[in-house]
């Protein structure tokens, strides 16, 4: 059976090496940043995690924060999937594949963030069921790793099926794809819910031990994921022949306004509960928003996240600013940054500060952590860029087995 696999691979490689100056500048910048990340990681691997700012008091930090954020991005891909495939809503349908590719890149980044956070990454095989000893009974982290892997494979199958069929100038098989897509919806919700449970289930950290955490995770993810898509769609409209209707972007933005409201509402409910009830557990919220006894390193970030979220919410809520691309893009960037700060800084660090015995260690990511994180982000961007480089021409019908020959 001639699957045209050879043509696909050779053609794809050719595509990757063709591009404008901007493309090459982008790719080489990413490669340089990746190289910096690798060098930094090498230092960390050689000397140990002492190169990070994490210590026994704050034993998780920036890496896990970024991991959490990226899980949200990956989960948000389903927000596009639901209307596109289930309701066959045309304006989004063409672009949903871009969301799924984003999910794949995001999951790869998640796995990288977990790997760099591990003291013994070479022992990752201990987590492979059947070979190692993945403990699915009670460990949420075990479930999370399984769910993420499953979600990665699921998205990969869906995307590669659709794209490869299109490459062979065939419609994708609804019989196979629709059930998988239906499955990817709960899977997307699952990965973020399980990731929330990872923290939520830890009674030792009252800041996380709140039932509001999982809904809040989903709400914030459904803002940050589409925020990337909105900007990406505009880039792709300009740089490729891909047609993306304004209507699709505006609909996304409107949905984001609602989810952002929900996110802010939950944040407010959480702050109210802590401040008004004024129990011992209030200290963590206090540390994030006011600082404790002069320890206030992350206070600016706590407020920035809220301010960004509120501004973006208003910009996306008012139809006039939503439909103006300048204010829309400002809003998208603010949402992205707001949620990024919320997850990267505002979730993990206050959870550990003060620590379980009341000690305050002011954690802030070290240079190594920042550079490795930059490296992982660049890796994610590179993977996404390269996948788009192949996927977009396939979507546009510019790249198929006939033209590849």
């Amino acid at each position: 059976m001639n699957m045209h696999l050879k043509e696909f691979i050779i053609g794809s490689i050719k595509l990757l090496f063709q591009g404008s100056k901007a493309y090459w500048a982008w790719v080489s910048t990413l490669l340089i940043l990746i190289a910096i990340g690798i060098v930094s990681y090498y230092g960390q691997a050689a000397n140990g995690l002492i190169t990070t700012s994490m210590r026994d008091q704050v034993s998780w930090g920036f890496y896990i924060g970024n991991f959490t954020f990226m899980v949200g991005i990956a989960a948000a891909a389903i927000m596009l999937v639901i209307p596109a495939y289930i309701y066959n809503w045309k304006p989004i349908k063409e672009i949903v594949i871009l969301g799924e590719l984003l999910a794949i890149s995001a999951i790869v980044m998640c796995l990288l963030f977990i790997l760099v956070d591990m003291g013994h990454p070479e022992r990752f095989w201990h987590m492979i069921p059947g070979i190692g000893k993945l403990r699915l009974g009670q460990s949420i982290l075990a479930w999370d790793s399984l769910a993420l892997t499953f979600y990665l494979i699921l998205n990969f199958i869906i995307v590669s099926h659709i794209l490869f069929r299109a490459f062979r100038i065939k419609d994708y098989s609804r019989k196979y794809v629709i059930p998988l897509i239906l499955l990817s919806v709960p899977a997307g919700i699952a990965i973020h819910t399980i990731t929330a449970f990872l923290y939520n289930g830890i009674a030792a950290r009252p800041f996380w031990n709140s039932a509001i955490l999982a809904p809040k995770f989903l709400a914030s993810a459904f803002c940050s994921g589409p925020a990337i898509m909105i900007i990406l769609f505009q880039v792709l409209r300009k740089t490729t022949k891909l047609q993306i209707e304004n209507r699709a972007i505006w609909t996304l933005a409107e949905l984001m306004a609602y989810t952002m409201f929900f996110n802010l509402f939950l944040t407010g409910a959480e702050i109210f509960k802590e401040v008004y009830s004024n129990t011992e557990h209030r200290v963590f919220t206090e540390y994030l928003y006011f600082g404790i006894e002069g320890h206030n390193k992350i206070v600016p970030f706590g407020w920035l996240a809220i301010i960004f979220d509120v501004i973006a919410f208003v910009l996306f809520l008012v139809p006039k600013t939503r439909k103006n691309f300048i204010t829309l893009n400002i809003g998208a960037v603010l949402i992205y940054l707001g949620v990024y700060i919320e997850k990267g800084i505002g979730l993990i660090i206050p959870g550990f500060t003060p620590d379980v015995l009341g000690e305050i260690y002011e954690y802030f990511p070290s240079t190594t952590e920042i550079l490795v994180t930059v490296g992982i982000f660049s890796t994610g961007f590179l993977i996404y860029t390269l996948m788009l480089k192949v996927a977009v021409p396939i979507i546009l019908g510019e790249f198929n087995y006939k033209k590849a020959q």
């Binding site: 140990g48 034993s59 379980v356 015995l357």
Partner: protein, 308 residues
Amino acid sequence: MKERKKILHPHRSIERRDFMKWMAVGTASIAGLSLLSSCDSDKREAFFQDQFKELDENELKAVLERLERGYKKEYNADIEVNATAPMDHVLFGYGLDLSKCIGCRRCVYACVEENNQSRNPEVHWIKVLEMEKDKGADLLHSDVYYNPEQVPEEGHFYMPVQCQQCKNAPCVKVCPVEATWTEPDGIVVVDYDWCLGCRNCMSACPYGARKFNWASPEIPQEEINIHTEYLGNRPRAKGVVEKCTFCIQRVRQGLYPACVEICPVGSRKFGNLLDEQSEIRTIMKNKRVFILKEELNTQPKFYYFYGT
């Protein structure tokens, strides 16, 4: 030396696991592959070493011997690594008399020496918290860095905290690979050769009892305690989590933990919870004990009490 008698999962055949392990080669990281091709057999075996409870008697013997060889090379000391089985009908419990402790920290350093903790970066399994008498046992206002000329300081009392060996241990629950578990005698142990270093257990522990090796541990050669247990005080590598084991290498030989023996005021008590005559049971019968953070339902086997 008593060899570990119990093989907890005998149903898993060695052939299958070997096959599975070689399957792992296919998916192994570059690190794994390079280990395979370039390193000596000890390193290769270390990489593919199974979790402690999966090892049968022969495998365990080989692992212990290999570890001893490795330590000889690394520390130039004849470190014996044992895998002593837990005693039957024994469940260890600990008592700490808050009315006695004067905060001298003798226990902290006796523990470091007995259990081969890293001196640099510093790892302490015991933390002694200084508290103000008029605030009570208030963790948020406690101080671990107190350093007066003499202790106890006026108006203060002291609360040492170490692993509470919970019956319902949250650290054990969260470990994704069962690198930590509760032994039949109630000691929560870590397999340092199986631990991924993900530190989920550290975030789950409500007592700050778990410590991470942020860098390669340093132990002066002349200070190494050569009597070690696989699940206890054998020297650790960087990137793994460690914790108090009630001095498993001592208590499974019938000895008191090092902190009990060093305490100049006799505030530390230890014994078998299943033995009604034991000191710990006597304390529970005659004094009123309390456990730390009882609201978390961790059910510690570490009881604080007021002897007076």
